[in-house]
């Protein structure tokens, strides 16, 4: 057989050609880059990150003032982005699940509202929606006359004010307790399930004592956590002073971040709703009917039979919606919220270091995406059917 008909030789030849081609393209780009850098008197390096940023940032989770370095400005931006992503994902999930279930409701009116919501928000650009919400939020009453939502929440064109625990030692202690119980609850729950299974096979009912203890611990945690949240935490309520027209205390979110989280959640919620609907309809009707005929109540069927199976179908598309939300949070720059993209863009304009800045922005988005996908893949492994 002649060598040009040998699949192995052809394969190697093809790879060599592709590599040469890629190297040639990269060399062409690199050569031009060096030439253009020299032409414009630019240089490459990350030293500039230590220089003073000398621009103010409106919203910041950590201390920042214009004399701080560019690096710190970028970290401020990254944190600002992360908070939007985390809160946005939580709100969008709640909204999406609610709308998705509404879409499947046997109530005709609820179904129509959910459908209209999905069709409107899925078929218009997110950027337009953000502009729209921002222009509406800007027309909110001033802080002299805010909208009061029950539970000491104030909404004005200065942003959203809401109660928030003060960060004193008691709060930290309570928070640690809450986190510990949240971690331990599923472990206990799993051990309890195991104990139930063992009870059937063990003759002397030894695990039964364990079961009672575990149940008591679970119950105590379930009662204690809300009590701690409501009474032990030192809640700071925002106060509205009508004479001064000022709201003080509690926590506040600027108008920009409120708009951004609201817009992202509304947009992504519409997509998540479709994911939820597709997941639930993917479980065959026979499952539902079989469970009902075994005598399970409707809510138990949903909880024990339909939802666990739907979750398996839902997680991969849900992951990509979360990734989309994380990437879309970069549209913050359009409404003036200082996220990592908009701060980096500022620095790039100021210093002319576009290549370095681009690499930093790329690295941060890629790592955030990697974290989200790894976390969702772990979760996915948990809910998949264990076969053999």
């Amino acid at each position: 057989m002649s060598f040009w008909r040998n699949a192995k030789v052809l394969g190697i030849a093809a790879q060599v050609v592709v590599i040469l081609l890629v190297i040639a393209i990269l060399a062409f780009f690199g050569d031009n880059l060096i030439y253009n850098f020299q032409l414009r008197g630019l240089s490459f390096g990350f030293d500039f990150l230590q220089d003073s940023a000398s621009f103010p940032i409106g919203t910041s989770l950590i201390d920042y003032d214009p004399s701080n370095s560019y690096l710190r400005a970028i970290i401020v931006g990254l944190l600002n982005s992360l908070i939007v992503m985390v809160v946005g994902i939580i709100v969008a999930t709640i909204l999406g699940v609610a709308i998705g279930i509404g879409r499947l409701s046997d109530n005709w009116l609820v179904k129509q509202i959910a459908t209209v919501y999905i069709e409107i928000f899925r078929n218009t650009p997110l950027l337009l929606q953000l502009f729209f919400w921002y222009s509406i939020f800007l027309q909110l009453p001033t802080s002299k006359d805010p909208i009061v939502i029950p539970g000491s929440i104030f909404l004005s064109n200065q942003g959203l004010f809401f109660p928030w625990p003060a960060f004193d030692p008691v709060t930290w202690l309570a928070l640690t307790l809450i986190i510990l119980s949240i971690i331990s609850a599923p472990i206990l729950w799993r051990r309890r399930k195991l104990a139930i299974e063992l009870t059937k096979s063990s003759p002397d009912n030894l695990p039964l004592r364990d079961r009672k203890e575990q149940l008591t611990i679970l119950l105590i945690t379930a009662i204690a956590v809300p009590l701690i949240v409501f009474f032990v935490l030192d809640w700071q309520f925002p106060n509205f002073d009508r004479d001064l027209g000022l709201i003080a205390g509690g926590a506040n979110l600027s108008l920009e971040i409120t708009t951004l989280i609201f817009g992202l959640a509304i947009y992504t919620g519409a997509f998540i709703a479709e994911v939820v609907r597709a997941g639930i309809t993917s479980v065959s009707k026979g499952q539902w009917e079989a469970a009902r005929s075994l005598g399970l109540k409707a809510n138990l069927v949903m909880q024990l039979i339909i939802f666990p199976q739907a979750l398996r179908v839902m997680i991969p598309p849900l992951t990509s919606e979360y990734l989309n939300l994380a990437k879309n949070s970069s549209l913050a720059t359009a409404i003036g919220y200082p996220d990592i993209y908009s701060i980096s863009f500022n620095i790039s304009e100021q210093t002319g270091r576009s290549l370095e800045i681009l690499l930093i922005v790329m690295a941060s988005y890629l790592s955030v995406n990697l974290i989200i996908s790894v976390a969702m893949n772990l979760f996915n492994k948990q809910v998949q059917i264990k076969e053999r």
């Binding site: 780009f29 046997d106 078929n123 990734l323 549209l331 290549l355």
Partner: protein, 411 residues
């Protein structure tokens, strides 16, 4: 033996029964219904209250202060030309009209030819046409008299070319195969008409704005991303490790970046990595950015299609003596692409929506023009809601009719 009719009995659905079955079948559905009704009434009441201003606000001058609380649709109707053709030179507007009429005529013609073997109207086309028709009428009633004449004329052109297409399609069934080629040349014809050069006064790519730019960016990027996307998908499925790695790295990196970052890269970095004497216009750079972005996503869609083609297909083709490229081109790809038409349409819709990001990188697309109307004109200060609603309506019409069409294609 007698055949027993196993059909279920027809449900007796008079309106009252229907209401009872769908809205009030148990106590929590009743509560839900009441809450939803209140919600709908509240939304409609406040919207209509705002959207239809009282009579004294309709006069242009010395409107009372209270009118700021009502909509002023003049902000939309007075800028209608800007939304559609942007800053296109006024004396050359005939070229945009001509392009629009050519596209409409060709669409009618294609529709006629495609439905030559069946009827013109079925459920799918009626739904899509009524959505498009309703918006056409809305726009027809809010433009000047001259434009109205043109629009009505275009409607006639559409009807006539549809009938011609139907007639020709019945007589010459092969015409269907030539349509893609006609559209291909038509694209360049329209681009030439809009952009100028070659006997026409040049307008320049960077001076295109408004909905023209939105459509241009969306269509060119989706067409350009096809070859790259298919190659990347094949590369990612390849058994040659280096090609597979390179494709995977490209796809995963691009999919991990926000589009706005890629557009920024295309605007700022592209001039840096190209020879200094090669100056790309801003629109071309933006389209390059969209293509880089969309081809990674298209590759993933096509990969799904490639995986859905059974192995037996390519094995059978090889057994018949076809070589590798021919197996791909004739057997695997056609089946793979057909399987992923819905997701490709979905991707086109999202790319169409994503063209709104042009507004951030300083180009004046449909969203960009509404921004510049709001910022550049103190007269329309505070009229952002009206303008955004209108722009959103246009985006919605385009995306919704595309998704309707693809959903009906699936059936």
């Amino acid at each position: 033996m007698t055949v027993i009719d196993t059909q279920p009995p027809k449900a007796n659905l008079n309106p009252l029964n229907w209401l009872k079955k769908n809205l009030f079948n148990n106590w929590y559905n009743t509560i839900l219904t009441i809450i939803s009704l209140l919600f709908i009434v509240w939304i409609f009441y406040s919207f209509i209250n705002w959207a239809i201003p009282p009579a004294e606000c309709l006069t242009k001058d010395n409107a009372p202060r209270i009118c700021a609380n009502y909509a002023d649709w003049n902000a939309v109707t007075e800028n209608m030309r800007l939304f559609f053709v942007g800053y296109y030179p006024e004396e050359l507007l005939w070229r945009t009209w001509a392009s629009f009429k050519i596209i409409v005529a060709l669409s009618g013609f294609s529709w006629g030819i495609f439905s030559a073997s069946s009827t013109l109207f079925n459920r799918a086309t009626i739904i899509v046409l009524s959505v498009l028709g309703a918006s056409y009428l809305t726009i027809l009633f809010s433009v000047g008299f001259e434009s109205q004449q043109y629009l009505v004329a275009t409607l006639f052109i559409f009807a006539i070319t549809t009938l011609i297409g139907k007639k020709l399609g019945t007589n010459l069934p092969d015409l269907k195969l030539w349509l893609p080629l006609v559209w291909f040349f038509n694209f360049f014809l329209v681009l030439w008409l809009l952009q100028g050069g070659l006997f026409l006064e040049s307008v320049g790519l960077d001076n295109l704005s408004g909905i023209i730019l939105t459509f241009l960016a969306a269509i060119v990027s989706i067409v350009l991303c096809f070859p790259f996307g298919i190659l990347l998908a094949l590369g990612r499925q390849s058994h040659l490790p280096i090609i597979r790695w390179l494709s995977t790295i490209y796809i995963e990196i691009i999919r991990g970046l926000p589009l706005i970052g890629i557009l920024f890269m295309a605007q700022v970095m592209l001039p840096l990595v190209l020879p200094p004497d090669l100056r790309l216009s801003r629109v071309v750079r933006a389209i390059a950015g969209f293509t880089i972005f969309a081809s990674a996503y298209l590759a993933e869609n096509v990969r799904g299609g490639l995986q859905s083609v059974p192995r037996g297909q390519s094995e059978a083709a090889k057994a018949l003596g076809l070589n590798g490229p021919l197996v791909l081109a004739l057997i695997v790809l056609p089946q793979a692409l057909r399987a992923v038409i819905p997701s490709i349409v979905g991707q086109f819709i999202s790319l169409f929506k994503d063209t709104s990001l042009l507004a951030i990188v300083g180009l004046v697309d449909l969203l960009g023009i509404s921004q510049s109307i709001l910022l550049g004109n103190p007269e329309y200060n505070g009229r952002s809601v009206e303008i955004y609603l209108f722009v959103g309506f246009i985006y919605w019409i385009c995306c919704y009719s595309m998704s309707l069409a693809s959903r009906n294609l699936e059936k």
